[in-house]
Amino acid sequence: MASKLTQSNRAGWLFAAPGVALMTLFIILPFFLAFAFSLTNQRLASPNPTEYVGFENYSDLLGLAIFTLEPERDEGGEVLRDDDGEIEYPRLRNFTRNNPDYPNLQGKREWFSWQSGENRTVILASDVVFMKALINTFTFVLFVAPIQAGFALCLALLINQKLRGINIFRTVFFMPVVVSIVVVSLLWQFIYSPGDGLLNNVLSGLTFGLWEPRDWLGNTATALPSIMAMSIWQGVGFHMVIWLSGLQTISPTLYEAAEIEGSNKWQTFRYVTWPGLRNTAVLILIVITMQAFALFAQIDVMTSGGPLDSTQVLVFQAVERGYGKQDISGGSTISVILFVIVLIISLIQRYLTRER
């Protein structure tokens, strides 16, 4: 059956062709190439031929093992302790390096561990840096998505008023979105700089000199939160505009009806505004989640994943591996994993926010 798509619309297809070609070349093709590369040992430049390796790249990244170390004991079965009274354990590398009894631990390294009685339980990962990147990325998304969305909604509600000069506020809030993220990152590097950076100075001024200046980006405890704060600030204007467009689709008569019924500000928000923003909320949550997972530029400019991998994230790892270490297959594998994660989360969000 000849469909309408193929009939007498050659001009339409011609108009669409440049866009389709570019999207194929730069989005669709790389998407499938990434899948293909992730199953090989492809390198950026290598004299050796590419080989199919199956899911080895995935197991190299995602491999996990749990292992319980038992204390060293003397002949009488007593637990050996060192000079400080700490329990002595056999060295982990005895099990992970060429130990035929533990093939599942081969090549893995300690990610973290905890004490349980006399034993020590160790979680081992094939790729500890990747695991840190994974955790950091999720942490970033978990904080940024709700805070940025909520903050953007507050701003949208504030500027959705008929006040003189309200456009000035709209412009100001939207400005960071227009500025390149690299420039923003550089500026915030100054703000966060240790010693006499702007943030330290302001805090010191507010506390009359009691504030101890700190190295925001150089401290494992503050580096990731600092980047979160800056990312929220940078992106909030964009989402504010989307919320605003959602707010303006709500019919003014609904507000009037609520007013006549005696609804107060909070009730109006709860019964009129928020339900009316349902579709916008789904859109914003998905967009923020995807943007947050794609976190790269800020890390690249401000911390390069440091200090001590405390700001490693997935996209940064993908780029670092693919181009820094010329390991295209490794980078591709991370991209594919990221794709699957984002897909799953989007589906879950869609399910949770579905029309009931």
């Binding site: 019919s251 008569t253 609904l254 009037e256 009806a257 609520a258 007013e259 006549i260 019924e261 005696g262 609804s263 107060n264 009730q267 019964y271 009129v272 339900p275 009316g276 349902r278």
Partner: protein
């Protein structure tokens, strides 16, 4: 239950005056309809009564209480909007109970009041549906239900039937009429549809350009319009207007004639109608009928529309102007046919001389 009194009410948006001093007295339990062409200020006036618009000047009393500065929710009113304004994400039950939810009423009270409203409006079977599953008429019923639950002293309707198709409009019109009888509440109803106004109202207020043109019972307005605008606005097809000269005046009648109108004695009770040498004569299309001889106006048929119950004939008179004739029966008239028209002189209306623009405005406003 409450009466509503508007005293010299004015409304301006910056330098633009929309309502220019309106006095209306609405008695307790009365059904009052505001009509007028678009832009006459009727909706603004209703929204001022509702409390959705500030009152620039004048006083508004509801039930003997000045409510100028009292918020909408405390004016004991309920409003039904043209766009229904029902909440799309709530079921019918939740929509109807919305005011009670806001007031944190108990579940039993909600159940009881919603059931009562549903019974009055015969929509018990709709209570668990969502607005998207309802027709326009059912949605408007929900909006009216929400109003009933509030037990208001005054119901306000802002063109509630404008978004409905013709058949539904008739049904809902009858429903609203019944509702008024059963509740006995004061109702103020805004429309641009004169059929709604004529059928529903105890009292019609005709508005134009921010002024009240006439207040009166529907048949008063039809038979004794105070001015040319009201005469043209009420009645369909619109009243015919023609310029005439006044020959002589005796008491309440004046002898009038023109190039196209043979001399006859017209009632001239209206103020200013027969003071000068000129006047404007108005005759309703329904009052004209063809005569064999002794006709007062004559011309040629240019078009005849047969509607079954009536026949509308477009007549071109000697000076080139058009006159509409509406016969209450089916009749055949061919274009080009000469026709002579007579009428009961008692049914003629004499107005102060009006410009062509004024006549045109009055006739167009009704459409």
């Amino acid at each position: 239950m409450a009466d509503v009194r508007l005293k010299d009410i004015k409304k301006s948006y910056g330098a633009v005056d929309v309502i220019k001093g309106v006095d209306i007295d609405i008695e307790d339990g009365e059904f009052v309809v505001f009509v007028g062409p678009s832009g006459c200020g009727k909706s603004t006036l209703l929204r001022m009564i509702a409390g959705l618009e500030d009152i620039t000047a004048g006083t508004l009393e509801i039930g003997g209480r000045v409510v100028n500065d009292i918020p909408a929710a405390q004016r004991a009113i309920a409003m039904v909007f043209q766009s229904y304004a029902i909440f799309p994400h709530m079921t019918v039950r939740e929509n109807v109970a919305f005011g009670l939810t806001i007031a944190k009423a108990s579940k039993e009270e909600k159940e009881k009041k919603v059931a009562e409203a549903a019974r009055i409006l015969q929509m018990e079977h709709l209570l668990d549906r969502r607005p998207s599953q309802l027709s326009g008429g059912q949605r408007q019923r929900v909006a009216i239900g929400r109003a009933i639950v509030r037990k208001p002293e005054v119901f306000l309707f802002d063109e509630p039937l404008s978004n409905l198709d013709a058949a539904l409009r008739l049904d809902m019109r009858i429903e609203i009429g019944k509702l008024h009888k059963s509740l006995g509440a004061t109702m103020i109803y805004v429309t641009h549809d004169q059929v709604e106004a004529m059928t529903l109202a105890d009292k019609i207020v005709v508005l134009k350009d921010g002024y009240v043109q006439q207040v009166g019972a529907p048949m008063d307005l039809y038979h004794r319009p105070q001015n040319l605008f009201v005469a043209g606005f009420i009645g369909a097809p619109s009243m015919n207007f023609m310029d005439v000269s006044i020959g002589s005046k005796e008491g309440q009648t004046a002898r009038v004639h023109s190039d196209i109108v043979a001399e006859f004695a017209a009632p001239a009770w209206r103020k200013g109608a027969a003071d000068g040498p000129k006047a404007t004569l108005g005759i309703r299309p329904q009052d004209l009928h063809p005569v064999e001889e002794g006709g007062i106006i004559s011309g040629n048929v240019t078009l005849s529309e047969r509607l079954g119950t009536e026949t509308v004939i477009d007549v071109k008179v000697e000076d080139g102007s058009r006159i509409l004739v509406s016969l209450g029966e089916d009749a055949v008239y061919e274009p080009g046919q000469a026709i002579s028209l007579g009428f009961n002189p008692e049914r003629a209306h004499l107005f102060a001389p009006a410009s062509d623009a004024e006549k045109h405005d009055a006739q167009v406003a009704a459409e």
